[in-house]
Amino acid sequence: MDTILNQIIHGLMLGVMYSLVAVGFTLFFGVLNLVQFAHGEIFMVGAFLGLIILNVLHSFLGIDNPALLLLICFAGSSVLTALFGLLFGRVTIRPIKNAPPIIALLTTLAAGISIRFFVMAFYPAGSQPQNFPGYLPDWQTEIHGVQLRFDSLFILVGGILLILGTYLFINKTRMGIAMRAVAQDRETASMMGVNINRVIDTTFVVSGILAACAGIFNGLYYRQVIFDMGAIYGVVGFSAAVIGGLGNIFGAIVGGFLFALLASFTSAFIPGGSAYRFVTAFAFLILFLVIMPKGILRASRGKRET
């Protein structure tokens, strides 16, 4: 029982990070109708920018207050990653906006690889894992054999707040409604006076912020970041978005949690399973796509091309 609860907490924590990346994928697919495969790399860039900000603040400016450090780290990395995403979108996505889906996927995949190896080549000792300073308190407690660590709770709460914020943004603000309108029907939306290019830019900004936060969460939890961590997150985020139904934000969140719980349960309950957690997760994904190619929650729109 305790192991189950512990695994559920671990899975939920992982699920938050997967969901934040998956929401990015789903937003791109909804608005642009293409798979932005470099999103995993944007996540990685967010984590590295956070690391750079932390190091600069700590060693050059001598700030020691962990709360202030983390606040600046999250804010700064979000802004910079959003800008990076914006630039990336302008350079690679705009020219292929009307290309067949597979070309868009390959282009972003190749661009993502460039970003990944750019970080490897130009970050000092970039091919090695980088230590991420743990500024979260080491506080932990046990309630009836269930371990609660501060960083897990922090990630859980922070991630849920971010997801809630995205939900409110998409549903309550003018720009969010414009995004949903473009997702439903680009032409009609533009006839109604929606500025498509601004919507696309906003998509990059929103997903960049989410990815940056997920990247810093990842760094804070595992205490290290490496240049190729975006590869697995990219595929997992995409898988989660597909499981939930591409284009559906709520579905992406469900998919992210499902994928994370599946991976953590495999490592807990199958003997020697921790090494094989991705085998089961991906086998499940393939099976899932065969049975339900459109995901759990189909995107709520009238027409949809696959």
Binding site: V35, T92, P95, I96, A99, P100, P101, I102, I103, L105, L106, T107, L109, A110, A111, G112, I113, S114, I115, R116, F117, F118, M120, A121, S127, A231, I232, V235, F238, S239, V242, A275, Y276, F278, V279, F282, A283, L285, I286, L289, V290, P293, T306
Partner: protein, 402 residues
């Protein structure tokens, strides 16, 4: 119409001589500045020829009219290559690897280029071939030629596990399935002890055919060829056979059927209405492609006598696939050219190793944005002799609707 035979032959020989001379120069020159100079020179020559429509058209026509002669002279040159490079066995080995890449790229070209089945898991099938050959050779000691065939067949069999997703999913969903497949496979290889785990399989016996060991030097007419030439010639034999097979498939009704079910060039719905069994033909394309890929994998493990999980990653799959994208989707000469580039260039630019992947990604992005047809765009099929007289450039290139 009278064909200027001699003129054509001279033109072909001239083109081949220039391009191969540049290629061999790039291989043999060790000074990197000189290499860049030669590459620059080659680019200028190609750009110049490309700009002059008349020159370009006459070269293309010469190659089309005398395709057999061109093929034969190419064959003579590649047969002679080990003699030219006999002082640097390393490059013979790299060229052998390049031939294996050509085989893999041709397999992916059948899947992705002809039939439009995106396969981002090619490295997994390469791995199936390599591991099958390696396991059989080390555990059971079966003869290498048998292992080659077995690796290829095994790759087809493993590919058939993906038949249902293949039939059920399209474009990016299928891409995701193949990515998931290669990632799961990599994870499996890394952890399965009976497959050698993270160390992989070591000590795979080198290739030998009917008692003739491939690690011996060759002596012909008093010339000594390094032992690597053995592998080169066998790979070349397989490569030529598979290139011809690919070409025959492409130029037949089978290739046409594949183009019809391709999302990019054809229309699946119309194909279905015309009575094409779309599901069956995509399965056939996928299986034949996997045969090619698995064969190359099996050869690889007998060549390097070592195969390990780092060779079988999603990134490797993307490299394989990019040979098709760079060379030209559904264009056999283009794919072969790009495969050779993708093997030789990183070897040549070892000094810039850590920047290579970054540049590779940028080149791929630029290619996909600016020149989606590839280095050598796919040709128009020629069904009637008279049509040959029309210059190629006057017709709309195939796949222009992409």
């Amino acid at each position: 119409m009278k064909r200027p035979l001699v003129q054509d032959l001279l033109l072909i020989l001239c083109c081949l001589a220039v391009s191969w001379a540049l290629f061999i120069a790039v291989l043999l020159i060790t000074n990197l500045y000189l290499v860049f100079a030669v590459i620059l020179l080659a680019s200028v020559v190609i750009y110049g020829v490309n700009r002059r429509e008349g020159v370009k058209a006459s070269i293309v026509q010469a190659f089309q009219r005398q395709s057999r002669f061109a093929f034969a002279s190419m064959l003579i040159i590649v047969l002679a290559l080990p003699f030219i490079l006999r002082s640097s066995p390393y490059w013979i080995l790299i060229l052998t690897l390049a031939i294996l890449w050509i085989i893999v790229a041709l397999g992916i070209n059948i899947q992705f280029g002809s039939a439009g089945i995106i396969n981002l898991g090619a490295a997994a099938f390469y791995g199936v071939g390599a591991y099958t050959a390696g396991m059989f050779a080390t555990k059971l000691g079966t003869p290498p030629l048998f292992n080659l065939l077995l690796g290829a067949v095994m790759s087809m069999v493993v590919g058939s596990f993906l038949f249902i997703p293949l039939l059920k999913t399209r474009s990016h969903y299928l891409a995701l399935v193949t990515i998931a497949f290669v990632m799961a496979f990599h994870n499996l290889l890394n952890n399965a002890e009976w497959l050698g785990g993270a160390q992989g399989i070591v000590g795979i016996p080198p290739m030998s055919v009917a008692g003739y060991s491939f690690i011996r030097e060759i002596k012909i007419w008093g010339l000594k060829l390094p032992s690597q030439a053995n592998f080169y010639y066998l790979a070349l034999l397989l490569g030529v056979l598979l290139v011809v097979a690919s070409w025959r498939l492409w130029n037949s009704w089978v290739g046409l059927t594949w183009n019809a079910i391709n999302e990019g060039t054809g229309d699946e719905l119309s194909a279905k209405c015309m009575g094409v069994a779309t599901g069956k033909w995509s399965m056939i394309a996928f299986t034949i492609g996997n045969f090619y890929i698995g064969l190359a994998g099996a050869f690889y493990s007998h060549m390097t006598s070592y195969v390990s999980p780092p060779d079988i990653t999603f990134y490797q799959s993307l490299l394989f696939l990019s040979a098709v994208i760079l060379g030209g989707v559904d264009s056999i000469p283009g794919v072969c050219l790009a495969a050779v580039f993708l093997v030789v260039l990183p070897e040549k630019l070892r000094a810039f190793q850590q920047y290579w992947v970054m540049f590779f990604g940028i080149i791929l992005v630029l290619m996909l944005i600016l020149r989606r047809k590839g280095l050598i765009p796919a040709m128009i099929r020629i069904y009637q002799r008279e049509v040959r007289a029309i210059p190629d450039s006057s017709r709309a290139p195939k796949g222009s609707n992409r």
